[in-house]
């Protein structure tokens, strides 16, 4: 027995996991146990994930170019982008912090965009290559996305704390808005993507 549930006429509830037998197109069906809407596959998964992903591609530019933090002091004001913040920490000798921020705010968002693109293209081309590894990649994506929020929280805490009038003050910059949007959009994209689509072409190849 090595078949997907949908080929044998079963739908599983995405929320509680209960299996339902059905015949014909699954439309307007609800889980009999928890009431969630039932679909064989997440609706328009590929198109929706592409839309969210493209929006994220657009916004990652201002997220990295515009300042995420503006600090003003007696000696004028200083604007920090994500990268300049990391470089500053690195030169300052706090390289563990620099590493954390580099991974969370630069490495993760960019590799997430790349990996999501790869998954969507491979699903659209009905690739049968390494489905297990691709599923694992998807699970990693789902898990790491949230950690990119660190930079937003750092900016938020600094904004709230460093308010010493004209002496020194920190404000979150416009880059933070774009960066927050990138994190949210890629998280939605990962949630919209249906990993079962990876396996559908593998099965129809009769493996």
């Amino acid at each position: 027995m090595n078949v997907s549930a949908v080929r044998l006429g079963y739908l599983s509830c995405h929320a509680c996991g209960l299996l339902h037998r059905h015949s014909g197109p699954a439309h307007g069906l609800f889980c009999t146990r928890c009431g969630a809407a039932l679909h064989a596959r997440k609706q328009d998964s590929v198109a929706r994930a592409w839309a969210l992903l493209i929006a994220a591609y657009v916004l990652i530019v201002p997220a990295n170019v515009l300042p995420v933090m503006v600090s003003g002091s007696l000696f004028g004001s200083e604007k920090d982008t994500i990268m300049s913040g990391v470089v500053y920490l690195w030169n300052d000798g706090s390289w563990p912090l620099a590493m954390i921020l580099f991974i969370a705010s630069i490495a993760v968002p960019f590799s997430k965009l790349g990996a999501m693109t790869f998954l969507l293209v491979s699903v659209q081309r009905r690739s049968t290559l390494a489905p297990e590894q691709r599923t694992r990649l998807y699970r990693v994506l789902e898990f790491v996305g949230r950690w990119s929020m660190i930079d937003i929280y750092v900016a938020a805490i600094l904004t709230a704390l460093v308010q010493f009038g004209g002496l020194m003050s920190i404000q979150a910059g416009p880059g933070a808005i774009a960066f927050g949007a990138v994190v949210v959009l890629t998280m939605f994209a990962a949630e919209t993507f249906d990993p079962r689509l990876i396996w559908d072409p593998v099965e129809s190849h009769g493996r």
Partner: protein, 202 residues
Amino acid sequence: MHGPHLHACHDCDLLQREIPLPPGGKARCPRCGAILYRRNVNGLDRTLAYSMGAAVLFIIANAFPIVGLAAAGHHTSTTLLGTVRMLWHGDMISVAGLVFTTTILMPGLEIAAFLYMLLPLKLGWVPQGLPAVFRIVHAVRPWGMVEVFMLGTLVALTKLAHLASVEPGVALFSFGALMFLVAAAAASFDTGALWERVEQLR
């Protein structure tokens, strides 16, 4: 209409027979390796206990300052809500909304939903609207980011440490503990046991 002894993998849709698990065991999909379901020892009681603890910590974490800062004779401190308000007034409305949603709204909803479902079930009745509340837990989970916030706060404090003297507040420690309790409540939540319990009480 159901197949009570069959299970479909949520990641690859492989149809397989459900097997009874020993307490504490978990079932993995043989094809893609996803965790299919687990049998937790006293799963529901544990989730309830962790959620009750989390509810108390959640209130403390929001009522007291997270951290204070002293520099050049000035002193500032902030609560979580104060942080959100500051962003809001600095015209960072979307960032304020994002911080509020991920650190207050979603974790609060998750804890409240656990208590709403599990306390009555423990006392012997099925609460009204349980299926809807169950779906809320499912939808809310990815958006509660207490642990990420905790790391962000620590990074911010380390950045400030050489600039001014930093005074960790009560809420900081509450957040640290809250992060573990929220994770423990979610990890011990046994959905199979939940529906069994509902079935028993009906």
